[in-house]
């Protein structure tokens, strides 16, 4: 108990004795975790939005004019036999025109100009809930396009593809930049601890001479690093949360037709705690780097 109290006391005294350096280091780590947090929120919420959007998507199979009732029934049966498909609804040409007229609303009179109905019949395919819906849709579309009677298959592939590519870019950028700024934060913590190690070098030497183990000598420095990392990460996550509270109401958006909407989400409490713990690990890593260079003996 006494040894633990000595270790904690030495760690805290050093941090308190140099408030400017300690504050600056905690502040720097906080900024790093704020940036990481915001980036992470961006990536995770974009992913969530993409999932929400893709869950609203329907596969639309437009059929040839030559594909009459029997042909459509065969297509319908083929689709219903796929495990991923939940429901298939046939939309006749006349029904398609009526649906379009309803969507145009007050501008429906524009359809008078067309003369005959230009809209093809189609099959509206709804997938079962689950992951990788976009990939499943793409695979189904590829198979469908080879079948007789199918003119075109649409599921918003162009913009969806672009959106997912965008998310991948954001994630990759986040990982690379995040890795770099984490490294920078570890270096800053390492330098702060190095100041501590340097200021206590005589004391550390004497402690070694009177029988202190290397672990007892190094423990306060590790504790300092962990505390600085923990406090910095906690502050960063807290600031990220405040920023989220301010910005989130502006980011609520409708998804597709109807009442469905996307509400941005912050980190779960477990994730937030893990991030803060990550800050402590960062502090420990920075300390280890500093001690390895300056207290090897």
């Amino acid at each position: 108990m006494r040894r633990s109290a000595v270790i904690v006391s030495r760690a805290l005294v050093d941090l308190v004795r140099r408030p400017a350096v300690t504050g600056l280091t905690i502040g720097t780590v906080a900024v790093v975790f704020l940036l990481l947090g915001l980036f992470g929120l961006l990536a995770s919420n974009f992913s969530g939005l993409a999932d929400k959007l893709s869950s609203r998507l329907r596969l639309t199979v437009f059929v040839d004019d030559d594909c009459q009732r029997e042909c459509r029934q065969q297509l319908q049966q083929w689709l219903q036999s796929r495990e991923a498909v939940a429901a298939v609804v046939v939309v006749e040409r006349q029904q398609a025109l009526e649906d379009f007229r309803r969507r145009l609303g007050d501008d429906a009179h524009l359809l008078e100009v067309l003369g005959e109905n230009p809209l093809p019949a189609s099959l509206q395919v709804e997938l079962r809930p689950g992951k990788r819906r976009t990939e499943i849709m793409a695979a189904l579309a590829t198979q469908l396009e080879k079948l007789a009677g199918v003119e075109e298959v649409q599921y918003g592939q162009r913009w969806l593809g672009r959106f997912f590519r965008f998310i991948r870019v954001v994630r990759t950028l986040g990982l690379v930049l995040g890795g770099l700024i984490l490294l920078a934060a570890a270096v800053i913590v390492s330098n702060t601890i190095r100041l501590s190690v340097y200021s206590r070098r005589q004391e550390s030497e004497i402690m070694g001479l009177v029988g202190a183990t290397p672990a007892f000598i190094k423990a306060p420095f590790y504790l300092q690093g962990a505390l600085v990392g923990l406090l910095g990460a906690g502050l960063g996550v807290g600031l990220a949360y405040l920023a989220f509270l301010v910005v989130a109401p502006w980011l609520r958006m409708p998804v597709g037709l109807g009442q469905s909407s996307f509400t941005p989400a912050f980190l779960s409490p477990t994730t937030a705690l893990l991030v803060v713990a990550g800050g402590a690990l960062l502090g420990l890593a920075g300390t280890a780097a500093s001690l390895w260079r300056h207290l090897r003996k």
């Binding site: 040894r3 109290a5 000595v6 004391e203 029988g211």
Partner: protein
């Protein structure tokens, strides 16, 4: 020590074929000119340097090839006093002396009692709250001795303990070391003050150029 060799590098032999024995509760001076190897001998005894050959028995155990993790535990049984005192300037005398208790995990009343006893023995009770830079040279060395004896080590090593002190203070320090020896502590003092040492009638081990010249073995 039996036929101990120590060097700081392939071309820097410090101690050559050292054979000596110091009995429990003895008071021994190690003398020799500067560069003779006195400090090296004490550093070896203190396990601050490894020996390249030979045997070194400490507390009945051969520590010539001791494992690194055992060194701190052995050092807790050896008090060391240095020429430059090695007091931590940002700690009071009480805190400096208590550092050993912190290392050994001694707290509470026992810690207070040990510190008070050590300070009383060296005559520094009234300076317990002072910082080292406020003390005279003699007082600083006494504080260093208090730190060295606070945990009742069976062995006390002193490397030129009076090197920075005037003759009068030097005598006071040696008297203090004698008092400590009288309590059963084995005291080994390295010094180049040969003239005064000879007058003390204590056992003298003379070394020169890394070799024991005389006094390596106690008289039968």
């Amino acid at each position: 020590m039996y036929h101990v060799h120590m060097s700081y590098g392939p071309d820097s032999p410090a101690l050559t074929d050292i054979t000596l024995r110091i009995e429990k509760a003895e008071f021994v001076f190690i003398t020799g000119p500067s560069g003779a190897g006195k400090t090296s001998l004490l550093r070896l005894a203190f396990l601050a340097e490894p020996c390249q050959a030979g045997q070194m028995l400490l507390f009945g155990k051969n520590v010539a090839r001791v494992k690194r993790r055992e060194i701190p535990l052995l050092r807790r049984r050896i008090g060391v006093v240095f020429q430059d005192f090695k007091l931590i300037p940002t700690m009071t005398v009480r805190e400096n002396v208590g550092l050993v208790c912190d290392v050994m995990g001694i707290g509470g009343r026992e810690r207070r009692q040990r510190i008070n006893e050590a300070l009383r023995m060296v005559g520094l009770e009234h300076k317990a709250g002072s910082f080292p830079l406020k003390l005279s040279g003699g007082e600083q060395q006494r504080a260093a001795i208090a730190r060295a004896i606070v945990n009742d080590p069976p062995i006390l090593l002193a490397d030129e303990p009076t090197g920075n002190l005037d003759p009068e203070l030097s005598r006071a320090i040696y008297r203090l070391l004698s008092e400590i020896n009288a309590r059963g502590v084995t005291v080994v003092v390295a010094t180049h003050d040969i003239d005064w040492v000879r007058r003390t009638r204590k056992r003298i081990i003379e070394i020169d150029r890394g070799r024991v010249i005389s006094g390596g073995m106690p008289d039968a």
